[in-house]
Amino acid sequence: RAQSAVKPRLTVISQWSAGSDGAAITALGKKFEEKGGTWQHSPVPGFTTEMMNKLRAQIIAGDPPACSQLKGPEIAAWSKIAPTINLDALVAAAGYEKVVAPDLARLHKPGGKWISLPLQIYSTNMLFLSKRAMDKAKADKIPVTWTDFNELAEKMKAGGVTYPIANGGTRPDDGQKFEASLAGISPAAYRAAIMNLDKKALEGPEIKAAFAQARKISDWMDPNVGAQPYATNLKRFIDGDMGMMIQGGWAQGVLRNAGFKFDDFTITPGPSDNSKPVFLLNADAFIFWQRKEPDLQAGQTLMAQLVMDPAIQTMYSQITGSIPVRTDVDLSGEGWSDGQRRTAAALKDAVANNQAVLSLAHNMAQENGLTAAMIDVITEYVKNKTIKPEEAVTRLAEAVEGAR
C-alpha cells in the first residue's frame, strides 16, 4: 500500500469545543499530528443538535467528514444515510473486540460490521458525595441502596445541609435522575422497559417506583436551579451546602478543572437495591464515513488505531474523567482517581452481573426521537410536582407509543 506516500489527513466534526472535552480532543489531535497526520477538527459549539445539523449538511452535500462524533443507536440510524467504512480488519488487528463490553460493541457494529469506535465510557449514575456535607450529617457510611440514599439525604438535611442533592435541571440531568432510579430499583425492568420498550414493563410497578424516587431527589434540590447545569452548584457542593449528586463521571474532570481537590468528595456507584453496582453506560464514539481521498483514508486508519490505543484512551480519560473503553487498561497508576477506579470496577461487576445497561438520558438506549419523547415526560414530571407518579407512568407509555 502506498500508505507512506500520502500524509494522513483527518477531517473531524465534534461538539467538543471547550472545557475538558475540548482539551481532550485537542490532545488527541496533537497525538494524531505527532504520528505525521494533518488534523482538521471542526468543533460545532452548542448543543448536539447543531453538531448533527452540521453533519447532516455535510452528508447531504456529499462531503461527510472522515470521522465524526456520534453515539448510541444514532450510529445505526445515521449509517443508513451515508456509506461508512468497514473497520473490521483494523479492530481485529488491534484485538479490540475482546476488550469491549458486549453491549457497547453491539452499538458500534450495526449490521455486524464495525463502523465506529467507542472512545471513552462514562457511567451516568455515579454518586458524588460531598465530604463536608457528610461531616455535617455525621455520616460515614457510603449509601448502597436507595433506602440508604434516602436516609442519608434526610440526615444531611437535618444536619444543616441546605439542599442534600446538588444536581442540575437540564433535560439530560432530569433524565439521569429517573434512569438512575429505575436502574437502581431493577436493572431488568430498565432493560425491558427502556431499552426494549416492552409495553408491559413500561407500565410496571418499577417504573412507578422510579418516578417516585426521582420525585424525592428533586424535592431535595434547590428549587432555584431551574434549567441550570449542575456545574453551577459545584461550589456549594464542595462547601457542603449541598450534599450529593447523581452525575456522570465527567463531573470529576469538571471539578478538577475548576480547581477543587479530590479529597473534598467521594465517588461511588449509584444506589442499587440489590446492592450490586448498576452501570448506566454512556460512551462517546467516532463514526467513520467513507471517503475516496487516499490521505483521508490513511487518516481514518491512523485515527482508528489511535482511538483503540490503550495509551491514547488513558490519556483521553485522564483528561475528561471518564474510563477507558478497553477493559484491559490498568487504572492503578498515577493519574487515575479513586472515582475512575471505582467506576471501572463497577463496570466490571455490572457486566458480570448483567447490570450494565445503556443510558436513556444520554441517547444510548434509544434513537433521539424516542429518547426526546421520553425525556419530555420525565423532565415535565420532575419540574411539575403536581404530576403523580402513576400519571407519569401512563404518559411515558403514551409518549413511547406516539414516538414510534
Binding site: 471547550a18 475538558s20 488534523w39 468543533p43 459549539p45 449538511a57 447531504i60 456545574a231
Partner: protein
Amino acid sequence: MRDRTFAPSRMLIYLVVSLFAAAYLAPLAVVVLNSLRTNEEIAQASMIGWPKQLAWRNYAAAWSGFCVAETCAGIRPYMLNSVLVTIPATIFSTILGAIAGYAVSLWRFRGDNWIYGIVTLGLFLPQQMRLLPWTIVLRDIGLINTLTGLVLIHTIQGLSFTVLFCRNYYVAIPHELIRAARIDGAGFFRIFWRIILPLSAPILIVTVIWQFTHIWNEFLYGVTFTTGQQQPVTAALIALSAAIADIPQHGVQSAAVIIAALPTLLIYLLGGRYFVRGLTAGAVK
C-alpha cells in the same frame, strides 16, 4: 401639550423616563460589570454585583485567549469571519434591495405586485424551515462551507426586508421625477444612480443597520454552513457559554459578549437617530 410649562407633570415625566431607561440599561450594566469580575467572584456572589477589583484580563482572555477546541485565539478570528460575511452581505442585500425596490415602486411591470408580495412574505418564513433546503442549494452550487455561501444566503434572505423598506420609501418619491428623467433620455440605471440613490440616504441607513445587526447576530446558518476556523463570532460565543460540563466562565463570557456586540451597538449609537427617521419614511405606509 408640547410646551414646557407645567413643572410637576414634567418632573413626573422625567422620573418615569429615567426609570425605564434604568430598566433598559440594567442588562447591559450587568454584563459590563460582570465582564470586569473574576469567575470566582461571580460564582461566590450573584450575577449582579460590583467588581471587587477590575478584572481586565477577562477582556484579554475573551479577545485572544480562550480556546475553542484546539484554537486558543479568543474571539478575534471569529470577529473577522463575521466581518467578512456581514459587510458584503449587508452591502449586496442593500444595493439589490434598493434596485428592486426602486423597480417595483417606480417602474411597474407585469406581475410586480405578486413578486413583491412573495418576497416580503419571506420576512415571515421561519429560519429553521429553510435550513435543509439551503443545504441542498449550497451543495448544488458548491458553496457549502464557504463564507461566500453564507453571504449568498444572507443576501437573498435579506432582500425580503430591504425590498420592502426601500419600496415603501420609494413610492413616496414623485413619479414626475422619473418621467422628467426619462424624457431627458436617462435609462433605468442612470435614473437610479443619479436621481434615486442620492435621495435614498435615510432608507439605506435603516436597511444597513437592520441587515448588519441581523447578519452579525445570526447563529444557526453560521455554524451549519461554515467549518472550523470560518465560524462567525456567535459560534464562538456559544462555545463559550455552552460548555455545559464546565464551571461557567461568566466573566470571560461577558467580556466576549461585549466585544462581539460592539459593532452592532456602535452602529445603533451612530445611526439610531437616522434609524427612527428612515423608519418613518419606510415603514409607515
